[in-house]
């Protein structure tokens, strides 16, 4: 019964709407406006243009101030501080151009709205103006290009020889890290060697693999030099460490690299953010399958001492080799060279 009534109401509603439309059409045809877009229309849209612009500007400024709390905290890597300040320089520049151009656009729409019988100012060309607004953006952009490339070249320059080499290994849908050990060399690996016990396919016969250790939680000593080498076993992932302003794609069949110098420990960042639960992360930032959004690894940046303690408890790639005797005898020796340099430097 109720369904029937609903249908009747809908049908009646449609009929009414149709009749209303007919009436509106008749009125429209009777009115016979002289112009298609009338003075009233121009006034309405001109005013709307101003209202829209003002509301938009206020809304954007208000939102930006409010959303400041969401922005990434201060960069926890050396190069990130530089790119951040460069980013904000860019934003400052952009904001100036944005507000001027948008203001002119919507203000002109209001100010120069159609007035009957008047004529626009016939002004088809001006070579001087054209030259000015070609050359000025060109100069500004050359400045940006030069500064940006200087940063880029520094960031991507070959890593110093004493940087600690760590492999970040991506697969659907988790990350594994492999520390290169005392020799600071990653043992050779091949996807054909992958088994349940040897998930990275590391070659047991390669002597440099003997001291490699693996973990599902990445730890980095603060103020150290880290060279990440990325490998993937299946499809393209992207290792994204937003707090370190670091990202590199992880591509099957090839090695990619990123050099980073972490500067703020997890504990310090927790104090800065006033959030005792804060943790750094490595995210996957290249669509990699159904659980893409769940692919992440905890990242801990800590003092070299704390790192040393943690590192000693790590498993070797080949667990047979990780048995007692070695772990006891070699305390600092087990640390990768990069780290020992840092500790010695202190």
């Amino acid at each position: 019964m109720i369904t029937l009534l609903t249908y009747i109401v809908i049908v009646l509603g449609l009929l009414t709407a149709w009749r209303l439309m007919r009436v509106m059409e008749l009125v429209r045809d009777l009115r016979e406006e002289e112009d298609i877009i009338t003075k009233k229309d121009n006034l309405f849209n001109g005013r709307m243009s101003m209202v829209f612009m003002i509301v938009c500007f206020i809304g954007m400024i208000y939102f930006t101030i409010d959303a400041k709390k969401y922005l990434l905290p201060i960069s926890a890597s050396k190069h990130g501080l530089l790119t951040d300040s460069y980013l904000y320089t860019n934003f400052a520049l952009i904001c100036v151009v944005f507000f001027i151009c948008q203001f002119l656009l919507f203000y002109y729409a209001f100010k120069y709205r159609h007035k009957k019988g008047e004529k626009a100012y016939f002004y088809p060309d001006d070579h001087k103006l054209e030259l000015i607004w070609t050359v000025i953006p060109a100069i500004v952009l050359i400045g940006l290009i030069v500064y940006g490339l200087k940063l880029w070249i520094n960031i991507t320059a070959p890593a110093p020889a004493d940087a600690m080499v760590i492999e970040l290994y991506g697969k659907q849908f988790d990350w594994t890290a492999r520390y290169s050990g005392q020799d600071n060399k990653l043992g050779h690996a091949n996807f054909k060697l992958i088994t349940d016990e040897n998930p990275l396919g590391v070659d047991v016969n390669d002597p440099t693999s003997k001291d490699d250790r693996i973990t599902k939680e990445l730890h980095l000593p603060v103020n150290s030099k880290i060279l990440f080498k990325f490998h993937s076993r299946d499809i393209i992932h992207s290792a994204y460490m937003p707090h370190l302003r670091a990202q590199m794609n992880v591509v099957p069949g090839m090695t990619t690299e990123f050099f980073v110098e972490p500067t703020i420990t997890t504990d310090s960042m927790r104090i800065i953010l006033n959030n005792p639960k804060f943790d750094y992360v490595v995210l996957c930032n290249k669509i990699c399958g159904v659980a893409h959004y769940n692919m992440r690894m905890k990242l801990v940046i800590e003092s070299p001492e704390a790192f040393k303690r943690w590192y000693k408890g790590l498993n070797y790639v080949f667990s047979r080799d990780a048995e007692q005797p070695k772990a006891d005898s070699a305390k600092t020796a087990l640390l990768p060279t990069g780290t020992s340099t840092i500790i010695a430097g202190k």
């Binding site: 922005l71 002004y123 088809p124 396919g201 937003p242 159904v290």
Partner: protein, 602 residues
């Protein structure tokens, strides 16, 4: 050229006599008339756009309220939304197909297909396209491509879900994601058909513009729309074949076991045989099309906007030659900037530097265009028609989105922003919204030329203001989701700590997206209603100079009943001092306008 036209005139005159023989099939379905084909493209594009828009609203519901259940989702997509909860793998499918449809079917096929077809013969003064038959094929390949893509939505394993950029190995291995099964094959087949359509269309457009211009229509008397379509068509002809090659090689890898893109893969507990390929190769090939594609989408929109802005400002476009020059420079640069999509793929950093340089150079011609638009509006006499409003909206988005492009084009800054929501916000404004606003401007402006009736202006105003508010409301906050470090293509941000921005801002974004989506139904209603019941259009509703408005309101084969009008001047003599009206059509000779001629004219 004049012989051409008169030959054609004779030919068309004959055709004219046979007009009543048109059956339903030859008139509405297998039509070779550019006007009908343009309508076919437009209606197909509107339908596809609605499908893609509803998809985006479904995933906006998921992103905005990840813990809620929406029974409507189950109604719309069946078992993929069991219990009103969107399936994570179908989320990726929605994102992929939304992007594909919008970029290719709506903003490439729909935009170029509709307006190149409608305006090229009308504005250059031709009876029809150079080849009506190729033109018909172009539409039917497009239709076939849309049909295959739509069919792929109903495949059991789901449609393609590797993102609209379909990077292998994800798109190559069905083991990696269910959508890379039959769904991906259909995606590739659809794309091959689409490329065929784009090429058939493009070749036709170029030939028509070069060969079939009417008497007096020199290249420097062409409206900017035609220049934009010409450059767009050339871009398409040069870049789409590369996508074809990329798709073909991917098809080989998928079906015949070759290793163009694949190497060293271990998946589902077993190593695969592929060796020696490079996934990066695909990205190079894809973006060699992909970046010009951005301008294939944008240039026609800018062309339409230029024409609308000049006409409705009642003032010549400022710097006509600079506008053409900047389009040419943009088109040239668009071929050597593709690497800016790949800064962090492990590409050689020096090569990255080169791409930074070329990419940021694009900002110069873009800035010139914006300033020229502003100069056109300065001291103008602006008729704020719905088309003009949308053209102004386009310029606004072109500014906003172009500026964030300066940031993303810088490799050092791209490291931290790549593949975050900042990118999503950037290209939805500069490419998506700009181009769709250009398309709306074109539809509102040339609707009378298409259907002989006017669209309702009040609904048009409503549509515009609601849409521009929703676009900024949707995409402005999205930048901040990106700046908070939230990756794109995530099904949910609630599984872990640390995504407060994505969770909270997404609610606002989704609300505006839904508002914007609903506003489009005003347009759809206005479009189809006005097609049948709109007010009859006068001969030249916008007092425009271009010659399409000299053809009779009722369509006929060959466009003009008698001889094709001769053109005597450029199309932008608006508001000329000394002239009685504020416009002088291109068909008016200088001898008739003694009072308004500038030195050197006539």
């Amino acid at each position: 050229m004049s012989t051409h036209s008169s030959d054609q005139a004779v030919h068309v005159h004959e055709a004219h006599d046979h007009e009543h023989h048109d059956t339903f099939w030859t008139k509405y379905v297998f039509s070779q008339d550019h006007k009908m084909i343009s309508k076919q493209f437009l209606v197909t594009a509107i339908v596809m756009a609605l499908v893609a828009m509803i998809m985006s609203l479904i995933f906006r519901l998921q992103l905005g309220w990840p813990n809620e259940k929406f029974p409507i989702i189950e109604k719309l997509i069946g078992h993929w939304g069991k219990g009103g909860k969107l399936d994570p793998s179908f989320y990726l499918a929605l994102v992929t197909i939304h992007g594909t449809i919008m970029v290719f079917f709506v903003l490439t096929g729909g935009l170029s297909g509709t307006f190149s077809n409608l305006l090229i013969p009308f504005q250059v003064g031709a009876r029809d396209m150079a080849s009506g038959f190729l033109n018909m094929l172009s539409y039917w390949f497009f239709f076939g491509s849309c049909a295959v893509m739509t069919a792929s939505l109903f495949v059991q394993s789901g449609p393609a879900s590797a993102g609209w950029t379909i990077y292998p190995p994800l798109s190559a291995l069905p083991q990696a994601i269910p959508g890379s099964g039959l769904g991906m094959t259909l995606w590739l087949v659809s794309m091959v058909l689409f490329i065929a359509s784009a090429l058939l269309g493009g070749i036709n457009y170029v030939v028509t513009i070069i060969n079939l211009r009417t008497k007096g229509m020199s290249m420097t008397r062409l409206p900017l729309t035609i220049w934009a379509f010409l450059i767009t068509a050339i871009l398409g002809i040069l870049s789409f074949p590369v996508l074809f090659a990329a798709a073909l090689l991917l098809l080989f890898d998928r079906s015949f076991g070759t290793s163009f893109y694949l190497s060293d893969i271990f998946i589902n507990g077993a190593p695969l045989h592929y060796s020696g390929g490079s996934p990066i190769l695909f990205q190079h090939l894809f973006w060699f099309l992909g970046h010009p594609e951005v301008y294939i989408v944008l240039l026609p929109a800018l062309g339409l906007a230029s024409e609308v802005i000049s006409t409705q400002s009642r003032k010549p476009i400022f710097g006509y030659k600079a506008m053409i020059g900047s389009m040419l420079v943009i088109a040239f640069l668009s071929f050597i900037v593709w690497g800016h999509h790949m800064f962090i793929t492990g590409m050689n950093p020096f090569l990255g530097s080169v791409f930074v340089f070329t990419t940021l150079l694009v900002a110069i011609p873009s800035a010139v265009k914006v300033f020229n638009y502003l100069a056109t509006l300065w001291k103008a006499n602006i008729v704020l028609s719905p088309a003009m409003l949308f053209a102004i909206g386009l310029v606004s988005f072109f500014i906003s989105g172009g500026l964030t492009g300066i940031i993303l084009g810088d490799s050092a800054l791209d490291i931290n922003l790549h593949d975050t929501y900042f990118v999503v916000a950037h290209f939805h404004i500069v490419m998506g919204s700009s181009a769709i606003f250009g398309m709306f401007a074109g539809i509102y402006h040339w609707f009378p030329r298409m259907f002989g009736r006017m669209m309702d202006k009040r609904l048009g105003f409503m549509h515009f203001w609601l849409t521009i508010v929703s676009v900024y409301g949707t995409f402005f906050p999205m930048h901040f989701i990106g700046l908070s470090g939230a990756p794109r293509r995530y099904y949910a941000y609630t599984a872990y700590e640390g995504f407060d921005a994505a969770i909270n801002i997404n609610v606002l974004v989704s609300i505006f997206a839904i508002l914007g989506g609903l506003a489009q139904f005003i347009f759809v209603f206005n479009f189809f209603y006005s097609m049948y019941r709109g007010k009859r259009s006068p001969q030249n509703p916008w007092n425009s100079n271009t010659i399409e408005w000299t053809a009779p309101v009722e369509h006929l084969h060959g466009n003009w009943p008698g001889e094709i009008p001769t053109v005597y001047r450029w199309p932008y003599d608006y508001g000329k001092p000394g002239a009685p009206d504020d416009f002088i059509p291109q068909t008016t000779p200088y001898t008739e306008t003694k009072n308004s001629n500038l030195p050197g004219e006539g």
